[in-house]
């Protein structure tokens, strides 16, 4: 297990390094001079040149890259191109809103999707199965932003049960939860659709195995067969795909934050993009990329815990 874990961590670090390099390169080749952006349209040529020097933009690319990586290791994300303030402060403010939203979405999806997936698999080709399949296909087809808008229209604009936009005060539980509900419901419903689908097909797969027939013919009660023999064996692909779909969910969180004007990373990223604040943009991308790499690592490590055979891969 230790060597498996170490190997996975090393792969994760190398992946992260490559991803960070891609982000660094993309931000450098994006159109627009950062110094010109910061000083505005009426800046003098000399002023722009001085700022370029100060920002280290005249240094060779490799030196900028080393500085970028060194800063990240020290937790320094640099300064905003727009106002010169440290980006880490903005990140610290935005991160809880995104984490809260994403985790609630995943938990919602698991709590609703797993039982729904098992139930539809057990009622294969009956009405609940058709309804469940239609629900999950509809969920997969819904653009996240559109589902968010419909929920906002119904619950916030028409029924006035929840606030229309904003993230609420993160330190006030009631206010925070009120603002979290609709965005989390949006992501949660989409996640439920994905999870229902994978749980259903995974359970169907296991149900056709010989050992399930054996368990039944031994006279075991159906709940015991389902829990001990079916669910335990269906778990591995489910975990794998929940990991994959959590990445989809992170993408979805960007859209949800824009719809509900929730002050998380997604909103920060789109704001930075519109104002051409490339250093902030780069930092948000780094955080997103790290999320994904960590999520993949956790998924891989969970495999090892759930299925002991994997340790010897």
């Amino acid at each position: 297990m230790i060597s498996y874990t170490i190997r996975r961590i090393l792969i994760a670090i190398s992946t992260l390094l490559i991803v960070l390099t891609i982000v660094f390169v993309l931000v450098r080749i994006a159109p627009g001079d950062p110094a010109e952006v910061r000083l505005g349209d009426y800046a003098s040529k000399a002023g722009v040149e001085a700022l370029r020097e100060e920002m280290g933009l005249n240094d060779p690319m490799w030196l900028q890259y080393v500085r970028f990586l060194k800063g990240l290791v020290q937790g320094d994300f640099g300064r905003s191109m727009l106002n010169g303030k440290p980006i880490s402060g903005d990140l610290k403010r935005a991160l809880p809103y995104t984490l809260q939203l994403t985790f609630t979405g995943i938990i919602f999806g698991v709590l609703l999707g797993v039982p729904l997936g098992v139930y539809t698999a057990l009622r294969r080709n009956a009405l609940p199965d058709y309804l469940g399949r239609t629900f999950s296909l509809a969920g997969l087809s819904f653009p996240t932003f559109y589902l968010g808008i419909l929920l906002m229209l119904l619950f916030a604009v028409k029924l006035r049960l929840f606030p229309v936009v904003g993230g609420g005060d993160i330190h006030s539980l009631g206010d925070n939860l009120q603002h979290l509900f609709l965005p989390a419901l949006t992501l949660g419903l989409i996640m439920t659709a994905y999870i229902t689908r994978i749980v259903r097909s995974s359970v169907l797969n296991v149900l056709s195995e010989d050992y399930v027939q054996t368990a039944r013919s031994k006279g075991l009660k159906e709940p015991v067969v389902i829990y001990k023999h079916v669910l335990k064996n269906a778990l591995l692909p489910i975990i794998a795909l929940i990991g994959v779909y959590s990445i989809v969910l992170i993408g979805g969180s960007v859209m949800v934050e824009i719809v509900f004007s929730r002050p998380g990373l997604g909103k920060m990223m789109i704001g930075a993009m519109k104002q051409r604040d490339y250093t902030t943009l780069q930092s948000v991308m780094v955080v997103y990329a790290s999320f994904v790499v960590i999520l993949n690592l956790l998924t891989d490590l969970t495999y090892g815990l759930v299925d002991p055979r994997i340790k010897y891969d």
Partner: protein
């Protein structure tokens, strides 16, 4: 030849028995027809403004209402569907050609080529679609061609991964070794002997991914990074409508509903086709 026809008849028979596929195919066909016929069936010019009819609710002359500038929402939705379908189809086709080629070559060549290609694909796939799409659009700038390029880049790894696994299994088959031993070159072996065997599966997935591509185009347009105005795009119409949600919800609701129907149509068609190709899991 006879065997080919009977195989085709068998597939058609299974397809006609699968209700989901039929519903999906009908929706997809209607969408394709609408997209092609948009210039002739739109009741109004989608760009024509009429200040006297600003934010008119759905009524007989404007069945889906009008927008902020008095433009007919139905006409804009029909033209928007055309853009969605164009971007989706071209990106999926390009992604299919490049990605399938990459996946097959990686599996067939093996060694360092395979390791490097598949690692690159894993890394590309580790970005959430929206985040990577935004990154590419920042570098390229908005515009029809750039949206197509961005979504193609997102589609390539999917197809590459899809083509990789079956090619790995196929290259061990006797007939591939035989083809190699009689001196056929790699290109011919891959296109004539490997591709026909994996193409069915790839075609099924491309139907599902067409839905994904259309959803992504809508998401980028919603963020203001797609095809720029005044060209009507469904995502952009939803975005503009959000500001008027309280008193003119029809702008966002109908344009979003159109995206949903298009994606749903292709998803159930793809899902049904997958039922046919893998009845054990999905029937």
């Amino acid at each position: 030849m006879t065997a080919g026809v009977s195989q085709r008849q068998r597939v058609l028979h299974t397809f006609l028995k699968n209700k989901t596929s039929i519903i999906g195919a009908i929706i997809a066909l209607i969408i394709i027809l609408i997209a092609i016929l948009a210039p002739w069936i739109s009741p109004y010019d989608p760009l024509k403004q009429n200040v006297y009819y600003r934010l008119t609710p759905p009524e007989l002359t404007h069945p889906l209402g009008t927008d902020l500038y008095g433009r007919d929402v139905l006409s804009r939705v029909l033209w928007g569907a055309r853009v969605s379908l164009l971007v989706g189809t071209v990106s999926v086709l390009l992604g299919m050609i490049i990605g399938t080629g990459m996946g097959m070559v990686a599996a067939y060549k093996g060694g360092k080529v395979e390791t490097a290609m598949m690692r690159a694909i894993d890394i590309l796939m580790s970005f959430p679609d929206e985040v990577f799409g935004i990154m590419v659009m920042i570098v390229l700038g908005s515009g029809l061609l750039n949206v197509i390029i961005a979504i193609t880049i997102l589609m390539i790894p999917r197809f590459a991964r899809m083509a990789h696994a079956p090619t790995l299994a196929l290259k061990e088959k006797d007939y591939i070794s035989a083809a190699r031993s009689i001196g056929l070159n790699d290109f011919r072996i891959l296109t004539r002997h490997v591709l026909p065997n994996i193409f069915g599966e790839i075609l099924v997935m491309s139907t599902l991914w067409l839905g994904t591509a259309i959803r992504l185009e809508a998401s980028l347009s919603f963020l203001g990074m797609g095809v720029p105005p005044p060209t009507p795009t469904l995502g952009n119409m939803v975005r503009v409508g959000v500001d008027y949600l309280g008193y003119a919800p029809w702008i966002s609701v109908f344009s979003g509903l159109t995206i949903l129907i298009i994606v749903f149509g292709f998803n159930i068609l793809g899902d049904g086709l997958r039922d046919i190709s893998d009845p054990k899991l999905y029937a």
